[in-house]
Symmetry: C2
Subunit: 311 residues, 2 copies
């Protein structure tokens, strides 16, 4: 394949699709535009959970069972932190700290998140471009029955237990897309723009809330294909289904397609969800990604759907 | 003993004496005033090497063979940092990072170094007070034949190889002593003020360069006793002897006594250096501190000398 491929993605689930794609497409032709709404400062360190999941996954360093962090991680820092009375609800592995310490230092020195991210990817010989959605601060805030919670407090500290009333993305409306993101989406050689099966409301929406990115997607000539995060009427992982229920949204591919209406041209739907009439082109496949083979298969199905659209 | 005891100290060698003292004197009656001229910012983290050596030594967490850092330390952070191209000349252990990350966060939030230090000591159940000499920034700068080097660059990165021409303490002249340091020195119940056998020019001088501390020592009614860092015409460890030679100073207890003239009332001299006439009271003892027993013995000798002075 000679064209270019774009994926809009959150962390764990999305990274699986990007890893699958990276087996099918020369990595240099692949750009992941990554959610940074989950980014936060913790213990004075700048943490970018979704970007780091991409970095670990694409460099072969990810802890596959856990879904986040590094394989063979050690935890001496957390043990010492706990002894000293430091906040310990967010796990920071010993090796993982290197990313956070270097990123924090460079951000303070004035480097952009996208430049830092590109340098990390280069150091780990990742061929794909990993772009934060924006170099400006966007914060996903979850309004719950316990009040407003920054994303990581909702997701990690409170384990998605509070009932969600609404989600907003502070700073998104005025945030510029990271340098290169809009050009990547609008590049004439783009063959497919995929929306990963990440949580639409928590992981993809922050990306779409950056006006330049939404506008670029609306103008893109390449087909935009979403991979449904619903598998057999349920979400594979994480709080997607619980959150949809709390927001009064039916847990189905149709709801997700409606959510992305005007932006996507087609949706890859899990075969367990049967034939669905979404008003856009669909394709059915087993979209559950457990093994690497699964990830490659789902990526191939999504690319095939984009190819169909290009006719 | 019901009185109070003060030690002015640098890192490794001084910490040995303080540990010895803590076996002889109820820890609550012991205050260590610690050099912070070696403190520096590295990878965006605030590092306080001498304070940390005291914290590790007095809490039983020190790596005794190495002389710095924690026992049973792991190095996953450094490995990952190196992979990412981060500066790796200064070793930061995984557990050790907890001190640096928490300290950096709290300093940025406006807490004083002495408050942070007190909280760390409390968390590790250290009874002695560990006071930084100042809460303000003092930086030891070594003028060498390669130009001016911040202390850690001279000491760690350049392994004390450049020839030293002079040493200065930036910020010391205007730095206030840390809250409590002057009161500790001048407290009427102080029975002895010891100067640890740390490097006089690199580790003790920065403390003495803080005007309020020097002035308090000059006014102190308690006897001030230095433990000679010279053992048999050599320095036990570190760059003391090399540095004295480069500065044209004879490597002898007499030189150190002359250096502290006007501040000390007596000196504990190593027995290998024979009987020396220093113009102040002296006492001879085996001052080499290898075992814990040695440390207790040297501390006891220094206290005995102070007791003699009190008459």
């Amino acid at each position: 394949m000679s064209g270019k491929f774009i994926v809009l993605t959150g962390g764990v689930g999305g990274a699986k699709l990007v890893l699958g794609l990276s087996q099918l497409v020369p990595p240099k032709q692949l750009t992941a535009i990554v959610n940074t709404g989950d980014d936060f400062e913790h213990l004075g360190l700048a943490i970018s959970p979704d970007i780091d999941t991409l970095l670990y996954t694409l460099s072969g360093k990810a802890n596959a069972e856990q879904g986040w962090g590094r394989a063979a991680e050690s935890w001496a820092f957390m043990t010492a932190l706990r002894e000293l009375g430091g906040e310990d609800w967010f796990q920071l592995g010993d090796g993982d700290l290197a990313l956070h310490v270097l990123r924090t230092m460079r951000l303070r020195a004035g480097d952009s998140l996208s430049k830092i991210c590109a340098d990390f990817a280069r150091a780990w010989e990742i061929g794909a471009a990993i772009l934060p959605m924006s170099d400006e601060r966007v914060a996903t805030i979850v309004t719950t029955d316990e009040g407003d919670l920054p994303f990581q407090h909702y997701f990690v500290a409170r384990r998605c237990e509070p009932k969600v009333r609404a989600v907003r993305f502070e700073g998104a409306a005025t945030a510029k897309a990271a340098l290169g993101a809009v050009d990547a989406i609008l590049h004439p050689e783009v063959e497919a723009i995929l929306i990963a099966p990440s949580n639409p409301y928590l992981s993809v929406d922050p990306i779409l809330a950056v006006p330049e990115i939404r506008s670029a997607l609306e103008r893109a000539t390449a087909p935009v294909v979403a991979v449904s995060p619903i598998v057999g009427g349920k979400a594979v992982k994480g709080p997607t289904a619980k959150l949809m229920a709390e927001l009064g949204i039916e847990i189905s591919p149709a709801s997700v397609a409606a959510h992305y209406e005007g932006l996507i041209d087609a949706m890859l739907v899990d075969i367990r969800d049967g034939q669905v009439a979404l008003g856009i082109k669909t394709r059915s496949a087993d979209t559950l990604m457990v093994t690497l083979e699964d990830r490659v298969r789902v990526a191939a199905e999504a690319l095939a759907l984009a190819r169909d659209l290009r006719g």
